[in-house]
């Protein structure tokens, strides 16, 4: 540990870099696989045309209900649309809703938790009772209620899911703020004579965000699942949008004759949720110092 290089710039940076690569080499196979799946899905979302050149909306009554083949890897549906193209194009809906809803929920949850945790007293009490009331309803039920108020459609589903997820994050942030607020370094800042809001920005906020980012990766999976569930119930985007939950609902009637219509979108939704969860759990373990 006695690296006494007098140069002020190099040693720390080099150490940080090599530690990063050392960690990378030790990534477990499952985590690497999950990351690969997510990279592939991101590619599908950003440039679906490259992965699946066929038009996901093109109806072809000559090719209805074809089983998976070389021409149609995932088969075709009752209108002759290529399931593979539809699944690939659907990735953007799911990922947008998953990331967007989580981002909104984390941002608002962070603000609420930070205010409640650092203000304490009556403010904390008021915020937390509202959060408790929201937490009392199942998240899916909350989302459905919000969609019922706002109307159906992708954007509204995104907002609905975000609102349902806020209480969870607000709770976590608040408890983390309470821990950080009583920590030795916040007290040290007070002894030094640092102003309160400065301590909040300098120490409380950054030390709260770390664990939150990790938890939010876990939240992305559940947000995707919620969006599929809402679409399945007919509360999300309207047909013929290639949304996974919607496709699942459409395929339901054909499950005996053409299982591929419902199974492939369902499989992709499941794969996405598992991958984000695996990655999120790994990040959490990493930040807890267990990996």
């Amino acid at each position: 540990m006695t690296d006494l290089t007098p140069n002020l710039a190099d040693p720390a940076r080099m150490r940080a870099g090599s530690v990063f690569f050392m960690r990378l080499r030790r990534v477990p196979f499952g985590v690497a696989l999950a990351a690969t799946v997510l990279v592939f899905l991101a590619l599908c979302a950003v440039a679906p045309g490259i992965v699946a050149p066929k038009d996901p909306y093109k109806i072809s009554l000559l090719h209805t209900l074809r089983p998976p083949s070389l021409e149609f890897p995932f088969g075709t549906d009752q209108l002759g649309r290529d399931i593979f193209s539809r699944v690939v194009h659907g990735a953007s809906y799911s990922l947008t809703i998953g990331l967007g809803a989580t981002f909104i929920a984390v941002t608002i949850g962070l603000a609420v938790g930070l205010v409640a945790g650092s203000a304490g007293g009556a403010v904390d009490l008021a915020f937390m009772r509202v959060i408790d009331v929201l937490l009392a309803f199942p998240a899916l039920f909350m989302s459905m209620a919000v969609v019922a108020l706002l109307g159906t459609g992708s954007v509204n589903v995104l907002i609905a899911i975000a609102i349902a997820e806020i209480p969870r994050y607000a709770r976590i942030v608040r408890s983390q703020v309470l821990v950080v607020r009583t920590s030795g370094y916040v007290e040290a800042a007070r002894i030094l004579g640092q102003r309160r809001w400065r301590t909040l920005m300098r120490h409380v906020l950054p030390n709260t965000i770390g664990p939150l980012i990790v938890l939010s990766t876990l939240g992305i999976g559940s947000a995707i699942l919620s969006s599929a569930a809402l679409s399945y119930l007919g509360l999300g985007p309207k047909p013929p949008t290639p949304e996974w939950g919607l496709m699942l609902a459409e395929g339901q009637g054909y499950l005996r004759r053409a299982w591929w219509i419902g199974v492939f979108p369902g499989m992709f939704a499941t794969l996405t949720v598992i991958s984000t969860t695996v990655l999120g759990r790994y990040l959490k373990a990493l930040s807890d110092g267990r990996a």
Binding site: M1, T5, Y185, I191, L192, Q194
Partner: protein, 554 residues
């Protein structure tokens, strides 16, 4: 046949040899002490002896026998049969070592049912016997309590009780008293002495020669994993051969070391005082401070008068209210009654906003420096934050931070480290540097050296003394260690159960204690029976003794 015989034990981790060529043996009813500073390999040795050296450790020896049974090539399953049954293991931190979800009764019962094959109906009675034998009062009540409900001393006893539950022939105690105050320490040592008399072999691991002096039959001094000296206490303590042993002895602050340096050729040499305090004025005053936490009266009508330029020692057992008093003086908590005056003006009665501009003048050095640093910060960020608060322009930060880090005996390269990458002594130096950055008048030091080993402690005490002289600081020095308080203080206050029971010039209080509690504290102080020799070690030329540049990195 020896109880335990170790020949040429080596423990290596990838890249480093933690212990090399260690040989000793333990007989029944004998105590072997392994002494050295942090990083000397003593804990690694203890863990290797119970098969817990770790997956990446390579343990080898010519001989490692427990009552004739070879311990070298045991499987993890076989080790489980040895640990607890034949070798009891007591760790330093009882709060961490005891399961927070278990009552101490079930913790001890677990050791019994695991190893002693005892019928269930007898277990409770045996647990009560054990609690009684380790000197826990009201065992009937304590048996159902959790670790957090017990004091540090009781926790340590409970841990010892679980270690000796299966009546092992050998007990390994790794720093069993380091976290405890003198009175409790004396009780734990007495308990170990009693067990030794009953025939248990003991391996006692400590950084403090004074602690082992009264118990050990054989002392092994380790440095960097190598034995530098070994022998009976009469020889090691009175005629130490190795320079390192002499330095360890000399580093122990005691009555004899008053006014002397504890380390040689270290720290800042005689620097002229840069600032002279206005001697005689009252820098900080507390008038009949009273504070209750919950039901408990923690600080009871305490008066403090801290005279500018002096070092006032505050000594007392853990739980006596010292830290709460410090927090009241720092205005981190509000007193229930009474008030604190700073420089003759109001302090505790101010609002936080009014107090903030004056906060830099009153700084704290705490027992846990690591906890007082933002975990994301490097040393330079920690210092820069302080410099920003006193309004130093940004372009000056690096220069001033370099100045500060050097003034506490660290080098520029430490600025880019994170506190976690530093040793305990280095962290405390950084905490002191941060306090100094504020150019304080008063430094409140709350157990600043309690978590450090003897030689690091000596360096930090010398540093504080130098800085006090250099910057004209007024210091309130809080500690449970009487030797330390005696060494640094001009005046001393003794605190017991929330009250100041005795106060006066340090020489008077130590030589002629008037209060019964002070006398008890002094009696419990571990002493080296050959203490005149210890102070004579000061006479050795400094060239081959503790060189601080080596130990800063330790």
């Amino acid at each position: 046949m020896s109880l335990l015989s170790v020949e040429n034990l080596s423990v290596t981790f990838p890249g480093t040899a933690a212990v090399q060529g260690l040989s000793f043996s333990v007989e029944a009813g004998q105590c072997v002490a392994i002494v050295g500073e942090s990083g000397s390999g003593k804990s690694v040795t203890a863990r290797a002896l119970v098969g817990l050296a770790g997956d990446n450790a390579a343990v080898s020896a010519q001989r490692l026998h427990l009552v004739g049974k070879d311990l070298l090539h045991l499987s993890p399953g076989q080790w489980r049969g040895i640990r607890g049954r034949h070798i009891g293991f007591v760790l330093q931190d009882a709060l961490v070592s005891l399961d927070p979800l278990k009552t101490i009764g079930s913790e001890i019962a677990e050791a019994l049912t695991e190893h002693a094959d005892m019928p269930c109906q007898d277990v409770r009675r045996k647990v009560l016997d054990l609690l009684t034998s380790v000197g826990i009062p009201n065992p009937e009540e304590r048996i159902g309590q959790f670790a957090h409900q017990l004091s540090g001393g009781l926790r340590q006893r409970a841990l010892i009780a679980s270690a000796i539950a299966a009546n092992p022939a050998l007990l390994i105690a790794d720093e069993p008293t380091t976290a405890l105050d003198v009175i409790v320490q004396a009780q734990i040592l007495a308990l170990l002495r009693e067990m030794k008399a009953k025939g248990t072999g003991i391996i006692l691991i400590s950084h403090d020669l004074a602690v082992v002096a009264s118990l050990a039959d054989h002392i092994v001094v380790l440095k960097d994993g190598v034995v530098v000296e070994a022998g009976p206490p009469s020889q090691v303590l009175s005629r130490p051969q190795a320079a390192y042993t002499r330095a360890l002895l000399a580093a122990i602050p005691s009555v004899e070391t008053k006014g002397q340096r504890l380390t040689f050729g270290s720290g800042t040499p005689d620097v002229p005082a840069a600032r002279t305090p206005q001697d005689g004025g009252i820098a900080l005053e507390a008038r009949s401070l009273t504070k209750s936490l919950g039901e408990r009266l923690v600080v009871d009508k305490v008066d403090v008068r801290l005279v500018a330029g002096e070092t006032l020692g505050l000594v007392g057992a853990s739980g006596s209210g010292k830290t709460t008093l410090a927090r009241l003086l720092l205005a981190l908590q509000q007193p229930d009654q009474g008030e604190v005056l700073f420089d003759g003006g109001p302090w505790s009665h101010l609002s936080e906003k009014q107090r903030r501009p004056h906060r830099p003048r009153l700084q704290l050095v705490s027992q846990d420096p690591l906890g007082s640093f933002d975990p994301r910060y490097r040393v330079i960020d920690i210092l820069a934050e302080a410099l920003e608060i006193i309004g130093l322009p940004k372009r000056e930060w690096t220069r001033r931070a370099t100045e500060l880090i050097r003034s506490v005996g660290l080098s520029d390269s430490h600025l880019l480290r994170r506190p976690r990458q530093l040793s305990g002594g280095q962290r405390q130096r950084v905490a002191i540097a941060r306090a100094l950055a504020m150019k304080p008048d008063i430094l409140i030091c709350d157990e600043p050296v309690s978590a450090l080993d003897v030689s690091t402690q000596a360096q930090v005490l010398d540093l504080l003394e130098d800085l006090k002289r250099q910057f004209g600081l007024t210091i309130l020095f809080i500690s449970h260690d009487l030797g330390v308080v005696h060494h640094v203080s001009d005046r001393v206050m003794v605190m017991h159960a929330g009250r100041i029971v005795e106060e006066g010039p340090v020489g008077d209080v130590f030589a002629r204690p008037r209060d019964a509690y002070t006398r008890e504290l002094l009696a419990a102080l571990p002493r080296i029976p050959f203490s005149s020799i210890a102070s004579k070690a000061k006479g050795y030329p400094h060239d081959h003794i503790l060189d601080s540049s080596v130990h800063i990195g330790a």
